[in-house]
């Protein structure tokens, strides 16, 4: 029986700005097992990054967790004081940010920044901490780490900075690693290196990973389970196979159809999702995807659909799955093994 490491229950996070309340996350529930990698996909403004910042308790004014529980190792993080959070953050839960250029401190050496976390959480002395830092840099594949440890961030290339960030995040052997678009700023060849590294770490150290991205190829590669977010809600959740080969939500289907596929003949027309995402100051009463959905019905506008369980662990927030819904010819996802 796999063990639940993290359980997010009905999380609601809002930003209170002068125009009103931006309901960025409007009731999100999911869980992460030990040693499991899950992917959260969605476009900008879908609430995926806000969810991760809520788990890290890194929300800044005017953002606030309005409601919900985040159970990490049996304890509710939402209720923890800032001081208690500092003992968890970087130690038990670590995060890799999107932009390695701006998230490293330019006036400290790479070594100092890795040592900071190690010394803080593990109480090692300077000498031991430095040795550990060198070991971490070696682990993430930085050549000649003994001399590189004294370099400043500007002396590292983009890919190496991202590796250094991963070294910092992993230095205390966290139980949970949250990676928010870790490869978006990188080239494909460097991206392949970093993804390989993350998969390796998951297998070797048994770290759980939440990978947040908009790149469906990346989640297909790394994650065993996928959560699809839109308009601050989870639209669909299932194993990667279920999401890619048998999507049940029109938004997931739309995402899959809007990306070009290498296997299809040339000049095949892409099928975009028309329209733009909803305004979360005044979120739609019903389904957030209604205005862009090709199958939208009257009920979709008026009532938010509940989750329909397709199979165990595969759920979708869509009225089309209701037993009384008209049977529409929906296109299926990716044909198995063709892309």
């Amino acid at each position: 029986m796999s063990q639940k490491l993290l359980e997010v229950k009905d999380l609601k996070t809002s930003f209170y700005i002068h125009l009103g309340e931006v309901q960025a996350v409007r009731g999100v529930s999911f869980s992460v097992d030990k040693g499991e990698a899950i992917g959260i996909v969605g476009e900008s403004g879908s609430g995926k990054s806000v969810t991760s910042m809520s788990i890290m308790r890194l929300l800044q004014y005017p953002g606030r967790i309005k409601d919900g529980e985040i159970i990490f190792k049996g304890e509710d993080i939402v209720k923890k004081s800032d001081k208690e959070m500092m003992a968890i953050r970087g130690n038990e839960i670590a995060m890799i940010f999107q932009d390695p250029m701006t998230s490293l401190n330019p006036v400290f050496t790479i070594g100092d920044q890795i040592m900071e976390a190690i010394r803080r959480h593990q109480g090692l002395n300077k000498k031991d901490a430095k040795e550990k830092a060198i070991e971490m840099l070696r682990l993430v594949g930085i050549p000649s780490p003994e001399s590189r440890v004294d370099n400043y961030p500007h002396e590292f290339s983009g890919g190496m900075r991202q590796r250094a960030m991963i070294a910092i995040a992993l230095s205390c052997q966290p139980d949970l690693l949250i990676a928010d678009e870790p490869t978006t700023a990188l080239d494909v060849t460097i991206q392949a290196q970093i993804l390989e590294l993350m998969k390796d770490l998951k297998d070797k150290v048994n770290t759980s990973i939440i990978l947040i991205t908009h790149d469906l190829g990346v989640v297909a590669d790394v994650c065993s389970r996928i959560v699809v977010m839109y308009g601050g809600l989870i639209m669909e959740e299932g194993t990667s196979e279920e999401i890619f080969y048998d999507p049940k939500h029109p938004y997931t289907m739309g995402l899959l159809k809007s990306i070009p596929r290498l296997d299809l003949g040339q000049k095949q027309r892409l099928v975009p999702i028309e329209g733009t995402p909803p305004d979360l100051i005044k979120p739609p009463v019903g389904c957030p995807f209604v205005s862009r959905c090709p199958y939208a019905m009257k009920i979709c506008k008026e009532y938010r659909p509940p989750y329909f369980e397709v199979s165990k662990g595969h759920r979708s927030m869509c009225w089309l799955l209701h037993e009384k819904a008209p049977k529409v010819e929906v296109e299926t996802g990716v044909k198995r093994g063709t892309a």
Binding site: A192, E196, H214, G217, D221, S240, P260, P272, V334, A339
Partner: protein, 332 residues
Amino acid sequence: MSEENMRKSDILIEVKNLKKYFPINKGLLGNDVQYVKAVDDVSFYIRRGETLGLVGESGCGKSTTGRTIIRLYDLTDGEIIFDGAEIGKMRQSEVKPFRKKMQMIFQDPYASLNSRMTVADIIGEPLDIHGLATGKERQEIIYNLLNKVGLGKDHASRYPHEFSGGQRQRIGIARALAVEPDFIICDEPISALDVSIQAQVVNMLEDLQSEMGLTYLFIAHDLSMVKHISDRIGVMYLGKLVEVAESKELYEKPTHPYTQALLSAIPIPDPEVTRSKQRVILEGDVPSPINPPSGCRFRTRCKYAMPICSEAEPELKDIGGGHMCACHLNDR
């Protein structure tokens, strides 16, 4: 017309031995000059109505190539032949009439529009500069362009900050189309957009191409999107063009080891395929373009590197059916 002439008039733009070096001053007095060889001896051509894709990692010189062709940069050496005229060595004042025929769409729709101008003025500016239309006629053209890119008349008096990224990119496209160009350089036009919006913009670019007979140079690092939109693709590495081929051919039979690595690195949105895929993981980073490796520039990361690779630079040669590749492996 002879066949030779036919072929010539078929080609809209030809770039021959293009070089663009950026000087950097080093040393105490700044008199120790070194050069960043951003584009080093690149040659290619684009036929009328065709889309040529240009791919490569950041810093490989693909954007510099685009910007040099449109003369935003002065080239260090080489020729740019546009519609039969050599524009590479012209003075800026002489290039102006050609600017009407070639336009550019930029990557960042947030930075490339002047935030103090209304949409109508942004789109109308090229008309003013080239003295193409005024008054009612100008307004009519602007409304038509807005319509063409899927925006409405009522958007004309608004400012860029009122639009989303995808809409701004549409405004940038409308502006590029205002002078009715023949050739458009698209420099990563969709990289800053969400997946669901990317397809909208790409479809629009394709429609405009068939409607107006446009020729595109499409610069991007998203290889699957480049394959989708391009007829032919050029792969660049460290300022050099290493392979050029029809896009289907390139993806089915990549010949240069770098192209092979680049293609194998693309994560495919299909769990079973992507997990069983054999990846060529390139070690290390791209070397510095100030002091590139001797001979073949890719040899430091190439697993097939041979002694000759450090001695002689491989030439970009036709290896059959217009598939060009610069690699010593083809000589064996």
